[in-house]
């Protein structure tokens, strides 16, 4: 580096920035069926023809360097079965951490939905926690997909659910476990059927999907450093949706 002149250093920085800013491309678009998509520069809104405005909307931070369109299929069933609005955020450089207030600002634009839960995948999950930490009144719940909070939310009176996958080799387990103290009281379950009957406000439900991987929470192919899945992306995403549906139901969201 010391042998390079300033212009060569800038060129090298540009080259390295280019290399390290490559995102994962989503699967190609297929027919959306009954799903209605509204896309702006800030978000992709998914809804059905009959939106149930009494149900909480879901606002979602994508994983780091993952194109936000990779999550459309993941949430399709939740939208169509529950008539619920899902907003997938579009973030600068596909790095949610650069826009940690975006969920809070975007939900104010969707005025027909009165309550929201926020979630995210991987880096997006940690960013969702930052948004909750800074704007706790904006959200009625939190869900994390292969993610953890670095902000202390333990005393926040929210229902939380943390979903991981057993063959995820991207999520740092040591950090995940160390940071459990930042979320409300821990309850471990092995299937959505084991969820408590009543509200889980002030508790964090931990659920691990057997055979799933980090990348299969979205639809962007395989991820470098990830494990080998023994279930399909569809099966993993179905389990996520079933878990979320029940979690939202028991918390009347």
């Amino acid at each position: 580096m010391y042998l390079l002149n300033p212009i060569q250093k800038i060129l090298l920085l540009l080259l390295l920035s280019g290399i390290f800013s490559c995102s994962y491309l989503p699967e190609e678009k297929v027919g959306a069926g009954d799903l209605i998509l509204e896309e702006t520069a800030d978000y992709i809104l998914l809804k059905s023809a009959f939106v149930d405005v009494s149900k909480a909307g879901i606002v979602f931070y994508p994983g780091g360097l993952v194109d936000p369109h990779a999550y459309i299929t993941s949430f399709k069933d939740l939208v169509l079965e529950d008539n619920r609005v899902v907003v997938i955020l579009k973030v600068s450089a596909n790095l949610a951490i650069l826009n940690s207030k975006k969920a809070s600002s975007v939900i104010s634009e969707v005025t027909y939905i009165n309550q929201w839960i926020v979630g995210g995948h991987s880096l997006g999950g940690s960013t969702a926690c930052i948004d909750v930490f800074n704007h706790p009144d904006n959200f009625k719940g939190l869900f994390l997909l292969a993610a953890y909070s670095v902000n202390d939310l333990a005393a926040y009176n929210l229902p939380c659910v943390s979903i991981t996958a057993s063959h995820d080799e991207v999520l740092e387990l040591a950090s995940f476990n160390e940071n459990k103290v930042n979320l409300p009281e821990e309850i471990n379950i092995s299937s959505p059927a084991e969820l408590p009957i009543g509200s889980t406000v002030g508790k964090t439900i931990y659920y691990e999907i057997e055979g799933g991987t980090h990348a299969q929470f979205g639809n962007y192919g395989s991820q470098e450093g990830d494990g080998m899945a023994i279930i399909s992306p569809d099966a993993q995403q179905l389990l996520v949706i079933k878990m979320l549906q029940k979690f939202l139901l028991i918390n009347q969201l």
């Binding site: 212009i7 995102s23 702006t40 520069a41 194109d67 369109h69």
Partner: protein
């Protein structure tokens, strides 16, 4: 007739004046006004560009790299352009910078083609030192044709604001730019 025109053009292009040889480093901020889904004001991203400017009889040719964040994530383009000088004073200059860019949307395993063109009126403070400062506000169109297979928005019209420095490769601001 055509040969004569080309010859005249080449002579004009090869005569030195106006600009010095510069390296221009610009930081850009893009503000969206239109895309193929809607017309609205929005923040479109930020970028950095590094361009070599070669003097011509009038204005300069420029070429280099630009890296920026954009609706589809990040992209890198090779930009070439022409800087036309409109006004030249003792310590400032007003140019119109027209550029075209061709490059790639940065996706792992499958980068996508992007192209763009734009025009930025640029004000340069000629300090008569090794480095001059510049700023500009313009308009830019970007398109990633293949991205329509993945997302809804693949064409953008934005208003870039840029600030930059011009580093003179040979000495300070050339005397020839001072009338």
């Amino acid at each position: 007739m055509r040969k004569r025109f080309l010859l005249t053009l080449l002579i004009n292009l090869s005569v030195y004046s106006g600009y010095s040889q510069n390296i221009a480093l610009d930081i850009n901020s893009f503000y969206g006004g239109w895309n193929n889904e809607l017309s609205a004001y929005y923040y479109g991203g930020a970028g950095i560009s590094l361009l070599y400017e070669h003097p011509l009889k009038k204005g300069a040719l420029s070429g280099g790299f630009a890296l920026r964040t954009i609706d589809w994530g990040n992209q890198v383009t090779v930009n070439v352009g022409y800087n036309a000088t409109y006004l030249l004073r003792d310590n400032w200059r007003l140019d119109g910078v027209s550029t075209v860019g061709l490059g790639l949307a940065l996706f792992k395993y499958k980068p996508l083609l992007v192209w763009s063109f734009g025009y930025v009126p640029e004000f340069t403070w000629l300090r008569k030192k090794k480095i001059d400062y510049s700023m500009g506000l313009g308009i830019r169109y970007s398109n990633s044709p293949a991205y329509k297979n993945y997302g809804q928005i693949y064409q953008l019209l934005e208003f870039p604001i840029k600030i930059g420095v011009k580093y003179h490769l040979k000495g300070k601001t050339p005397a020839s730019v001072v009338p």
